[in-house]
Symmetry: C2
Subunit: 417 residues, 2 copies
């Protein structure tokens, strides 16, 4: 039964993708504008569906944080609509010929950017992902199959219905935007193995969700998000700058993947820097967990355990370690880091270059906060997630990362010898 419904979804998405692949930029932009208008026009319908989810959530005892993520308001709906309009204004990556050259036999061989086809998104609480992801995929000519969290089921359904209707009214083929209309886990399991219909899966959510998708999917997955990020304060760092960067990386928004979780400091500046760090962090209610040397310098600091070096706290907690040099810092980062965002604060040309080359992560910073790892901050205009894998896309993924390429070859009768 669920199998049949999912097959139907897949078949429709695949068919829609064939048409979307050929849609003009104007047509896609008109659909995005139509979708934005519809969200505003039908906000009451969406808000009342959200109300049902909120009540159910309260009844189930969801945490305040989760309830806040789940909650929609007129303002949040406006933001979704603005996001769609912003997408309409961005350049269309589809159709760009990224290379073209002539071979000795006269064949002209090139590569053109094309949609991926059908994108599956498996995500948790926030209902705004429904609109963001649908917009990003429509802009890039991909059909989307959305599988949201059960807490936001009614909200997601309402949003997806409004968007799908608006897209169809604008001439986009049916099936371009679809939401899995059951909360049964089996549906997600089927989606993860529908290689015949789905070209790529992007999980968006916590480490647990991402791990489940990576382990169960046979469809190619883009892994996103887990960030155990470090900042290394080098021996000749500008310590005022280092302090500002550390405070920003830890405190500006601790619940996100590009926030700093551990700080490493060169022993040559540890005695000068750490007391300043400690008082600045304690002032901001950050719990510090330090190595033995930090505890000697600043008695009363809680001891950091092995597991603290591995943990993405996503909270006002910071692990701190004194290291003897750049090499030890890099070893620590490459060992415990998740390959997300890593920063060095230094005045040394040589050590900045060594850190850049030797740290294996999606984004490596010199003298800036790790909080900048973000599609908008990097100038991509939009973001579907932050890839922490090395295939296809690494770091913030914008519109280009939602495309593939195909080889196009123009001949005049060439045959192979």
């Amino acid at each position: 039964m669920i199998q049949a419904r999912m097959e139907e979804l897949g078949r429709k998405a695949k068919e829609a993708a064939r048409y979307l692949m050929l849609a003009s930029t104007d047509q896609k932009n008109q659909a995005l504008q139509e979708m934005a208008r519809a969200l505003t026009a039908k906000s009451e319908e969406i808000l009342s569906a959200n109300q049902m989810d909120m009540e159910e959530g309260r009844r189930k005892g969801l945490s305040t944080t989760l309830l806040d993520r789940l909650m929609l308001s007129q303002k949040r709906i406006e933001e979704m609509a603005e996001g769609l309009l912003a997408l309409a204004a961005l350049p269309d990556p589809v159709g760009e010929v990224v290379e073209m050259h002539r071979r000795p036999n006269g064949l002209e061989v090139g590569k053109v950017r094309v949609p991926l086809g059908v994108v599956g998104i498996i995500y948790e609480a926030r209902p705004n992902v429904t609109a963001d992801a649908a917009g990003l995929c429509l802009k890039t000519g991909n059909a989307i199959i959305l599988r949201g969290g059960s807490e936001a089921f009614n909200s997601n359904q309402a949003i997806a219905r409004v968007l799908a209707d608006a897209a169809m009214a604008a001439g986009i083929h049916e099936g371009a935007i679809q939401l899995v209309d059951t909360t049964d886990r089996e549906a997600a399991n089927i989606l993860m193995r529908m290689n015949r219909y789905v070209d790529v899966l992007i999980p968006r959510g916590g480490a647990g969700l991402i791990q489940t998708v990576v382990n169960s999917a046979t469809v190619p997955v883009i892994e996103t998000g887990v960030g155990n990020c470090h900042t290394f304060v080098d021996q000749d760092a500008d310590l005022d700058m280092a302090l500002e960067i550390a405070i920003n990386a830890k405190c500006q928004r601790p619940s996100v993947c590009n926030a700093m979780e551990s700080l490493l400091v060169h022993e040559a500046v540890a005695e000068e820097f750490l007391p300043r760090l400690a008082s600045a962090m304690q002032e901001r209610q950050v719990e510090l967990r330090g190595c033995e040397r930090f505890q000697v310098i600043h008695p009363g600091i809680k001891a950091a355990t092995e597991s603290d070096w591995e943990t993405e706290f996503l909270d006002f907690i910071l692990a701190v370690k004194v290291v003897k040099d750049l090499d030890e810092a890099m070893e620590h980062i490459n060992r415990y880091g998740t390959g997300h965002s890593e920063a060095i604060v230094t005045r040394s040309y040589e050590r900045a270059r060594r850190f850049m080359a030797g740290v294996d992560a999606a984004a490596v910073f010199v003298n800036a906060s790790t909080r900048f790892t973000d599609g908008f901050q990097f100038g991509l205009g939009a973001e579907i997630g932050i890839s922490t894998q090395k295939l296809h896309a690494r770091g913030p993924m914008g519109l280009k990362e939602l495309t593939s390429t195909k080889y196009i070859i123009y001949g005049n009768g060439q045959i192979r010898q």
Copy 2:
């Protein structure tokens, strides 16, 4: 026991990758030259290992084709060595800054090409893949874990040992080139799930092997190779050209993935073209399987079944169908094709463009043979396989496709507002 050995392999590869990532182009090229020299110098050792595999193969009753693939000779070893020297002469993709721009806040955000890390290759019979894949990975700064077929176990071991020793002698870190030293299937299963150590898996072989890897792996996979390729002869095609292209695409080397398996012909030229096609193909011992209309035009042709449209024959067999127009041809291709290589023969500007845009495949040709889908023919200089998926790489994969990128960000104290 096997688990522990595989862990050891993975750990060593990961460590080697950390050093390889930093190796200079000169150092990598010297290693490739050293590896080429060693293959020639130790050819006797390799040939005698191959002799063992050949004897075992004969004893087991392997087919002549398989035995031919398995067999090494002085000449084939020289070809492997030449392949490594050719790699040394190619430009190094690692370190290329593929983009860099300045943000309004003064941050300079760029992307640099870096190795993938650790590449796993799971492959079948041909022992030359051992040298080719090891060379490609070394050139691109990746550590490689090779898992060859059991028929070539001794040959692969000998080649891998010679290459690993030569690379180490040239100063490359131990663990850069490793072969799984057991034929136990469990080892392959473990390799496919070693996400902690392996960044990407590339299966090379028949459809069965590739399907197994796609279904079992949790490590990201690049799917390669299966090619159910078509040529469409349009209503105003130059029929002489169409015939030459069809003969080349079918007969020049039928056992490979870019060979044509089905030919589609517009009904307007079917009566003129098909008798010529039939006699040319029959002259070359190609078995034809036709639709009903072909059978009417040319009585005595065997009927094509539904399964013929789906089959990658890899043999002197060709399925032929008369279609009423370009749309029917494109529908047929998008339905039965495997997204590998598809060609149209036409004089029409409009229909060439429609075919290019509407056919969803790794390589789409106008007026040329599908046999050109190949890294060397496309000018990539080398090839690790032909991707038929849309993530990361599509079509022939050269050196660039064995790299990832990382964001590099240069600041002077920027923090996020």
